[in-house]
Structures are given as structure tokens and as C-alpha cells.
Symmetry: C2
Subunit: 340 residues, 2 copies
Amino acid sequence: MSLQTPTATTPIILTGDRPTGPLHLGHFVGSLRNRVTYQDQYRQFIMLADAQALTDNMDDIGKVHRNVIEVALDYLAVGIDPAKSTILIQSQIPELAELTFYYLNLVTVARLERNPTVKQEIILRGFERDIPAGFLTYPASQAADISAFKATIVPVGEDQIPMIEQCNEIVRKFNRNAGRDILVECKAIVPEVGRLPGIDGKAKMSKSLGNTINLGASADEIRAAVKMVYTDPLHLKVSDPGHLEGNVAFLYLDAFDTDKEGLAEMKAHYQRGGLGDSVVKKRLEGILQDMLAPIRARREELAKDKGQVMQILKEGTIKAREVAARTTDEVRKALGLSYF
Amino acid sequence: MSLQTPTATTPIILTGDRPTGPLHLGHFVGSLRNRVTYQDQYRQFIMLADAQALTDNMDDIGKVHRNVIEVALDYLAVGIDPAKSTILIQSQIPELAELTFYYLNLVTVARLERNPTVKQEIILRGFERDIPAGFLTYPASQAADISAFKATIVPVGEDQIPMIEQCNEIVRKFNRNAGRDILVECKAIVPEVGRLPGIDGKAKMSKSLGNTINLGASADEIRAAVKMVYTDPLHLKVSDPGHLEGNVAFLYLDAFDTDKEGLAEMKAHYQRGGLGDSVVKKRLEGILQDMLAPIRARREELAKDKGQVMQILKEGTIKAREVAARTTDEVRKALGLSYF
């Protein structure tokens, strides 16, 4: 089943990114790679969440705008096909803000404050008592995004599951008030390959931690990054036995090396001793260079005509807006907010 | 200066009501009467805040819808002239929700929780810990309504002044981030005649307290209500001296009796003793009957063609939406959320 012939039962996926910087290997493993598969099985909406990105970037307004095109280039470069996936810009669909506005009445402040994802993000971003209201209420916004497209599947990280639960609570409450099922509940799917650690071994590859390898990285940048990849601090001499736990070089090989047999042999050798980090890193670098070279080439090619990329975003947004507008119309009618 | 020839310096007023029930004498004294005057001096937008009314009426959706037309009838019956004032339905201008969405990033949760008006309303409505998020954040929504029309004057009750301060904080913060003055600060004006007490002497005339006289009340309803008007509980016999403090009959006469001299005499007589409540109430009833009869007649006439009233609301909403859309466009551009 492909997007070309979606039926009423084709599952609908909503996914996306906050465009605050170019995407990296962590995104590739955690989501982009899957989206390329999903687009042949599901009706897929991919959202550039620029309005949501503003919740904590109000003081650097240009950043979000600039990165919309960068992230779109990453999407297209990895093989997301606008003929199969609908790529949209969140802010250009005001119906999403309108739905958020209504959903805010369906969730209490206490419930938002109890949301574990929100709690964690508040700590992570150092908001403490100065939480922007838009940040506390972003589960309502996310519920708007998901339900506007009647998405039934939302791929998320483990830590985002409470957001999906809260979305479904809003959906159920709305349908109960309306007396009929207008909105659709969704299911979280957590990708098998979990989060990719940063090159420094920190739990999360993240732009703000400066431990990423970007999808558009040059050959030199890849080489330099692999050199810095964290391995085993106890593996001082080649002859020492090496450890695999927390060894980022091997974690990356697990994620990207398709020669599982060769990799198993290398691991055994490393653990026995007698295998230097440089050999492991050479293998890793080769794999990453091979994998990223065509992505980089496509990205550079696409970047030559940004007008064309913008046109793709425009068409996707128009298509997505039609869907969101239909849902919003149903919501407005159910709320008795329909007059003329 | 009239609406027909508004200049760049014509002050713009935003005012309105939550359509949760027909309007009453309290509204007439506190706002409607003034709006009839304002419409000749200012560019006036009058908003039927149906979306805002949902913040605490999500469980009775039909109520808000039904009352939009009732309140519109009250407006037109008291002399609000759609050729001079622009009457609009909030929910039909999705730009207001969009602006709210952005403004939520410009106000912290702590600041909203400190807002005295919000605090008081939370107690009044018995929300306690179950405050709907839409209720806590309604200052952002109100800031959206005011700033969308670039209103410079907002008539409010004394207790609503913190809302205007919060609106101006958001406006300043937005302009500072944008690096230029896109939004306009507004000034609160508090009407001279304060709040009208309910017929039972309670501080507030309010539908939920059941102590109102509606603008569309029948002659019999007015008569019955005046009979129940709270006077002086110590004034047992006609010969007893009567008190004016908290005496609703005299408070209403203060508000509606244009014969100030006759009223002063009556007050003196009442205080001396020898004047029965029935005489005072007869005077009050006469005045209210005279005042409300033409309003009721116009209201009944207008109610015969609700399609015509809806047409007025539609035209006002279209006109208002053009203004709000222009502002929202400027806001979106300033936030870097403009692409195509």
C-alpha cells in the first residue's frame, strides 16, 4: 500500500522536527531512516515545527527561519520523497494554533505540570520558575498537530510517550463533550534502535552539546569527528583488552555496519586485546564516509535551487492545510462555533 | 470624528462580552450605554467572545452558540449601530487564536499565576487545582484580541486593570524582540458609573446569581423584579426614617433617574421618614419601564429576522478579520514565520 492509493484504513503518521539546526546522525538513526521506510507503507505527514521551536527561541527569531530550509534539505537528501510524504511548515497552517487554543480548555494546569516529559524538559532547559506559558502548554499544541491530521501513529522516543498519552486524553475528552468521535486516538511507536550517543559518549547526540556528526558534514568533518569518538579509556595499549560498554565507536558500528559477521569478529578481537582503536575507527570512518557521501552530494545538489525546495514545502503545506482545515471545521462545528 | 472617516490618530476601542446569557441592566450601565457614545468618537470594535466563553463552558457547548444572537440583539436594541461600530464573532477570526499561540511564549506561567484578575476569577469559579489551561492563559488571549485590532483604549471594570497591564507587557516584549514597534500599547478606561448591584443587594448583578433585570425583560418581569429590589431592612414602617446606604432602589435611581432634583427631594423625605418603599419603587419602576420599553420593542422587532442580525455579524466579522489578518501578518513576519 502506498501513498498514491491511501484508503480509509491506511495508517496516518505524523512526525517532524523542530528546525533549530541541521540534522545529524542521531536523527538519521532515530527517525529519518524509518521515515524513508514508512512513506511506502503509510500516509506520512512530516512537520517542520517552526512555531513550536519558538517556545524557547523567541529571543533568536532568525534561527528558526534559517533552519527550516536546512532541515528540509536534510529530509530530501536522505530520501524522503515529497511524492510519497507530505512535508509541511507548522506556522503556515494557522488551524494548528486554533486547535491548540480549544484544547487548552480540555487540559488542566495541574495535569500539564505533572506531564513527565514537560517536567524533564523544563529542567533540561533550565526554565525553573520562568517557564514560558507556551512551553508548559505545548502538549496541547502537540495534540493539535497530531489530531489535525487524524494521525494514528506517532513515532517518538521513549521519553515522549507521556505526550502521546496526554494527546489521547484530550482527544477522548473532546469526543466525549462533542458526543461523537470526531478526533482520533493515536499510538506511539518507539523505534527499535534507540538514541545514538554523542561522539563524546554523552547519552544524547545534540547540537547544543556539540557532539554531533551532521548529515551534511564534509569528508574532513567526518574524519575529524571519528578521531574524537569516545572509545575505552582503559584501552591504553593496543595489546590491552578493550571494553565494548559505552564504547561509542562500536555503538556506531552496531548502528551502521551491515557486515554483522565481520563486526562480531572485530569485537571479539578488541575484547581479547591486540586491536588498536585506530583500526576500529578506520572501519567506522569508512562506513560513515560511504553512507554520508551520497547524502551530502544530494544535499549540495538540492541546495543549488532553494526555490525548488521552498516550492516542495509550499505544495506540501497546502496539501496538509486542506486536511487540517477539514478537521478544524469539524471541531468548530462540534463546539458550536459555526455561524455563517 | 466618526467611523466613516477614521484617521490614523482616531483612537481604536476594543470591547465586548462573553456570550453566556442575555445582557442586563448591569451591562447597560457599565458598558452598553458608553459604547453608544463611543461609536461617534472612536473606531469601535465590539467582540462577541464566544471562544473565550468556552474556557469554562466546554461542558455546555450549545449555550455559547445560542447566546451569540441574544447578545447581538441586545447590542442592536440599545442603539449600537453596525454602520458605526464593528461587531465581530471572536471564533470566526482564527488569527486571534494564532496570536494567542505566539503570545504564550512571551509570558511566564508564574506571571500568569500572579495576575490578580486571574487569581480572583479562579476563586470565583471554584477551579482550585483544576484550572483549565485555557483559563490560566486567557490574558494572552485577551492581549491577542486587543492587539489584533491595535486598540488603544479598552473600557474595563476596575478589577480588569491587571489584564490590561499584562497585555501591555506582552506588547512591549514582542516589540523588543522584533526590534520595532509592531504592536500598540493600550490604555484602560474605567467607566464613571461603577458596577450596578443585583436586585438582591449583592455586589454584582449577575446571571448566575439570578439577581438581574434583563434588557429584554417584559413589563411584568420588570414589575416583579422591582418588587423584589432590596431596600432598607430597618425601614419597617412608613414613618420610620429610611437609609440610603446599600439601598438598591436608590442606587438604581441614581443610575437611571434624570430628574436629579426630584430624586434628591425623595431621598431627603425617605431619610426623614414618612415615605414608604412602595412609592420609591413606583418611581423606579416607571423609569425602568420607560427606559426598557423601546429597547424591548426594538429587540422584538429585530428578533423577527435573525438572518438579518446574522448578516450584520458576518459583515462585521469580515471587516474585523481584515484588520486582524493584517496585524497577524506583521507579527508572523516579525517572528520570521513567513516563507512563501
